[in-house]
């Protein structure tokens, strides 16, 4: 067994010798980088890959636990770390390396903020079709590492589908790359897939190459209000049709109000974008389907459309309520699952955002009390539908009582072996991933 206590002063001196002023030990800054209440002893911000490699070599050799840090917007994800000694911030990896617009690809450093990237891409009429919460702060590397997806996933795919290349540094300080800059590439194992969603436990992502999407000509949203049952029948009609919306999302009355809509038991928002004719057809057809389900509709554009989808995007992540669950089930099972959840909560303090097109249901509670009772129930419910329930956010003392990822996956043994192969000393984000990987 390795000695798990580290000599922070000595480590700070060693890192300071390499990085100079970029090593911070000021208590306020360290407290701001606590993960689930665990305050690191050192924070550093390497200026390039060479420095990052050097830091990781030193940390890995000295047994220091490393917490990779992007924008800090997804730090509530995962189990509380078993140790947290050195926070490595990617803030200096903040450049758009290349936007090859003619080839619909862009290569971005991991620490770049999503909003800053989107602005540059927008200048050339393209975007990255991923909508993580809080894009002003969230970073590209964090979005990839934590596999943060947004409402439009049903039309454009998830992070795993849009990443075509990556650079990363392993715990040993070894830099590697995966994939490339072309949209089709089957040379060797698809290592990008392994790192997307690995929550920084296999290596630190320093650069990502994505497929781009042309900015749509226009966009608009139809919102239909009614009961849960009406919502379910509208969604069934919609998915039985030839329509190809960008997002189909159901929200409860409180979320609707926050999004600037008239509250109802349930509201379903259908986002259409693309060519003008396509959007017009979606609006027309969805309104007709909603009418047949006896629902009232309104169409929102521009500011209304943006406000609605920003509320949906940020739900459960920005100004986060104490407890957030994420349920993933096959898409057609979203409404049955939501019906069960609403019945269980019986008008309680539950808020939800459910993406019916991708099968992702977000549930938020305003008090931590429900975790003990709800988590096993939600896990069982999700499992019944071939899905999963994850505790996405909760106070640390609550998180310590469960595995936030739910029951261990069948292939846990393989996952643990992969972790051993890539990070034999358990240096990176120890304890935060499934079953304490």
């Amino acid at each position: 067994m390795r000695d798990l206590t580290i000599d922070a002063d000595r480590l700070a001196r060693e890192l300071g010798g390499m990085l100079g002023a970029a090593v911070q030990r000021d208590p306020a800054s360290l407290r701001a980088h606590a993960v689930d209440g665990l305050v690191p002893q050192i924070r550093c911000a390497p200026k390039d890959t060479d420095e990052l490699c050097a830091i990781l070599r030193v940390c890995d050799a000295s047994g220091a636990a490393v917490i990779p840090w992007g924008g800090g917007t997804a730090m509530h994800w995962g189990n509380p770390p078993s140790r947290a000694d050195v926070v490595i911030s990617l803030e200096q990896f903040n450049r758009l390396v290349e936007h090859d617009d003619a080839n619909l690809t862009a290569t971005v450093q991991a620490g770049m903020r999503v909003a800053a990237l989107q602005e540059l891409l927008g200048g050339r009429h393209q975007c990255l079709a991923i909508d993580p919460p809080d894009p002003q702060h969230s970073t590209i590397g964090g979005t990839a590492a934590a596999n943060i997806n947004g409402p439009r996933r049903m039309a454009y795919g998830g992070v795993r589908d849009l990443v075509i290349g990556m650079k990363m540094v392993l715990a040993s300080g070894e830099p590697i790359k995966a994939g490339g800059k072309v949209v089709k590439n089957v040379a060797g194992y698809d290592m990008c897939k392994l790192f997307v969603g690995s929550l920084g436990t296999l290596g630190i992502i320093t650069e990502v190459t994505f497929k781009m999407t042309p900015l749509p000509e226009t966009a608009g949203t139809v919102v239909a209000r009614g009961s849960l049952a009406q919502t379910a029948s509208l969604i069934e009609a919609l998915f039985g049709s030839v329509l190809t919306p960008a997002a189909v999302t159901v929200v409860d009355g409180r979320v609707a109000a926050a999004a600037g809509l008239q509250p109802a038991e349930a509201s379903v928002a259908v986002w259409a974008e693309g060519f003008t004719e396509t959007v017009a057809r979606h609006v027309r057809d969805v309104q007709a389907m909603a009418g047949q389900s006896g629902m009232t509709t309104e169409v929102v554009h521009d500011i209304g459309h943006r406000r609605l989808w920003e509320t949906v995007r940020d739900f459960g992540a920005v100004g986060a309520p104490p407890v957030v669950f994420r349920l993933t089930v096959p898409p057609a099972d979203v409404m049955p699952v939501l019906a069960v959840v609403c019945r269980l909560s019986d008008g309680g303090a539950l808020r939800y955002v459910a993406h019916a097109g991708t099968g992702t249901v977000w549930l938020a509670f305003d008090t931590p009390a429900p975790v003990t009772a709800w988590f096993p129930r939600l896990a069982a419910l999700a499992q019944e539908y071939h899905g999963h329930a994850v505790l996405a956010a909760a106070p640390p003392e609550v998180k310590r009582t469960v595995d936030v990822w739910g029951p261990s996956p069948q292939a846990l043994g393989l996952m643990q072996e992969l972790k051993r192969q890539f990070d034999p000393h358990g240096t990176l984000n120890p304890g935060r991933f499934v079953a304490g990987i």
């Binding site: 070894e174 490339g180 072309v182 060797g188 194992y189 693309g274 099972d333 043994g413 992969l418």
Partner: protein, 478 residues
């Protein structure tokens, strides 16, 4: 390789004696795939009928420390299913049942031996289809498609196999079976399902696959344009993308292939044009006329020799016929050919194509070209007569130079065919020792004893043995 009687007896016990082949005249059928320039005999061929039988065979091979090579329909183009180290070959074509189609959730659960086109035919009853459409789709199996991360013409907007596989059940060398991925998105843990896709049988054996199905678009429009030069056609492709239009397919053929197709099926291509471009857009009919207008305008700016749109489904299929039979038609031009697969950023297509022409000239080889132009995925086809002494060296060298040009232009050595034995050593052109070691780590986690398809995908430091067979037939798959 001398295999023990004990292993043979055990295999017969697992799958039944009739499904274990050892006689030379039986196993010779499995000595090669569609990578026509190499071959090797398996010692034993096993045709299991169920996942449990697969697991048993995998465990037996592992315990006997004998190489295990998995094979579907044998349409692979990289030699990935050639048993270069002998051993047990696991042929999964008996496992060809569609276990479930769930139209509400738009997914299907299939055994690995299900033929790609059969799945789409079954899904069509529900208005759905399976998107990846490799040229081999009427023969190749989903298991093989998964193993090689197969692509196809319509990947431009739909993505490759990896984007459509939700989960799979795998048998590991250790003897265990497990599901990876899930019917719902984002199952907790590492994306092992994503890693398995394209792993060419070197990690584990797939025994069942959950794939995503898509709803058929309401309408499609297809346009065929013939241009003076490949440059003109390539420029057209780039400008369509730049206009914010991503068609479902943009396929190109050069003059050599066009001439062969014209001779074979009389598609009505202008005899002396340099390139023909086939463009398809899908979606709601409301938006298609204007999209087609814009595409036509861009085409016209490059003075096409011919511009033809399909007015009916029948006409559409006719336009596609030329493309689909392109490679097959080349059989008219030479006794054999070597079909390559490289990718470049699509804007670099014209310059890389000029290089391909130069390389052909330098080696006195005739090269025809088929492309998934929208993806920058080129398929140079080197035509040759295998009876010509010393020809194979020249063909292999020309192919290497072409792939080198792709990598130099910022591309890759394979876009959809995979690495296998063919491109194993070329991996070093793209990846450092550290990059390859990381892949080795993945291999070790899945297959610590190294029995799964040895000698494939990862470089060994020695050239693969590429030998000519006395008689070769032209391949068909792109």
């Amino acid at each position: 390789m001398a295999l023990s009687r004990a292993l043979l007896a055990r295999l017969k016990e697992i799958v039944g004696p009739v499904y274990v082949l050892t006689r030379p005249e039986d196993v010779v059928v499995y000595e090669q795939d569609a990578f026509l320039v190499a071959h090797a005999l398996p010692d034993i061929v096993v045709l299991p009928g169920s996942a449990a039988e697969v697991a048993g065979v995998v465990r037996a091979a592992h315990e006997a420390n004998v190489p295990l090579v998995v094979r579907g329909a044998g349409t692979g183009l990289n030699g990935g299913s050639i048993p270069i180290a002998g051993g047990v070959m696991l042929v999964l074509t008996r496992m060809n049942r569609i276990l479930e189609i769930d139209p509400r959730n738009r997914l299907a659960v299939v055994e690995p031996g299900v033929v790609n086109a059969d799945l789409t035919a079954a899904a069509a009853r529900h208005g759905l289809f399976y998107a990846p459409d490799p040229g081999s789709q009427s023969v190749s199996t989903i298991g093989g498609n998964v193993g090689n991360n197969a692509g196809g013409p319509h990947c431009l907007s739909y993505g490759v196999t990896g984007n459509h596989v939700l989960a799979m059940e795998i048998a590991l060398a250790s003897g265990g079976m497990t599901w990876v991925g899930g019917r719902s998105v984002d199952p907790p843990g590492y994306d092992l399902c994503g890693v398995m896709v394209g792993s060419e049988g070197t990690l584990a054996v797939v025994t069942a696959v959950v794939v995503r199905l898509l709803r058929k678009a309401e309408a499609a429009r297809t346009l065929l344009a013939a241009f003076e030069t490949i440059d003109d056609a390539s420029q057209t492709v780039s400008e369509i993308i730049a206009a914010g239009i991503v068609p479902t397919a943009m396929e190109m053929m050069d003059g050599v292939v066009m001439a062969a197709v014209e001779a074979a099926i009389h598609a009505g291509y202008p005899a002396d044009a340099g390139a023909v471009l086939l463009i398809e857009v899908e979606g709601l009919p409301d938006s298609l006329p204007r999209q087609m207008e814009r595409i036509e305008t861009i085409c016209r700016a490059h003075t096409p020799r011919m511009l033809r749109t399909a007015a009916s489904e029948q006409e559409r299929l006719l336009l596609w016929k030329g493309r689909k039979e392109g490679a097959g038609a080349l059989g008219r031009l030479a006794p054999s050919y070597y079909l390559h697969d490289g990718v470049v950023p699509r804007t670099r297509l014209p310059e890389v194509m000029r290089k391909v022409v130069e390389i052909g000239k330098a080696h006195h080889l005739r090269i025809g070209n088929l492309f998934h132009a929208g993806d920058g995925n080129l398929h140079p086809i080197i035509l040759f007569n295998p009876r010509e002494p010393g020809i194979m060296d020249k063909v292999v060298r020309a192919g290497e130079e072409i792939l080198h040009a792709c990598v130099e232009a910022g591309g890759t050595i394979t876009g959809e065919h995979g690495v296998g034995i063919e491109k194993r050593e070329y991996m070093r052109w793209m990846f450092s020792d550290a990059d390859l070691l990381a892949m080795q780590r993945v291999k070790r986690a899945f297959d610590p004893s190294g029995v799964m398809n040895p000698g494939k995908l990862l470089p060994l430091g020695t050239r693969p043995d590429v030998t000519i067979k006395p008689v070769m037939t032209a391949g068909m798959w792109t």
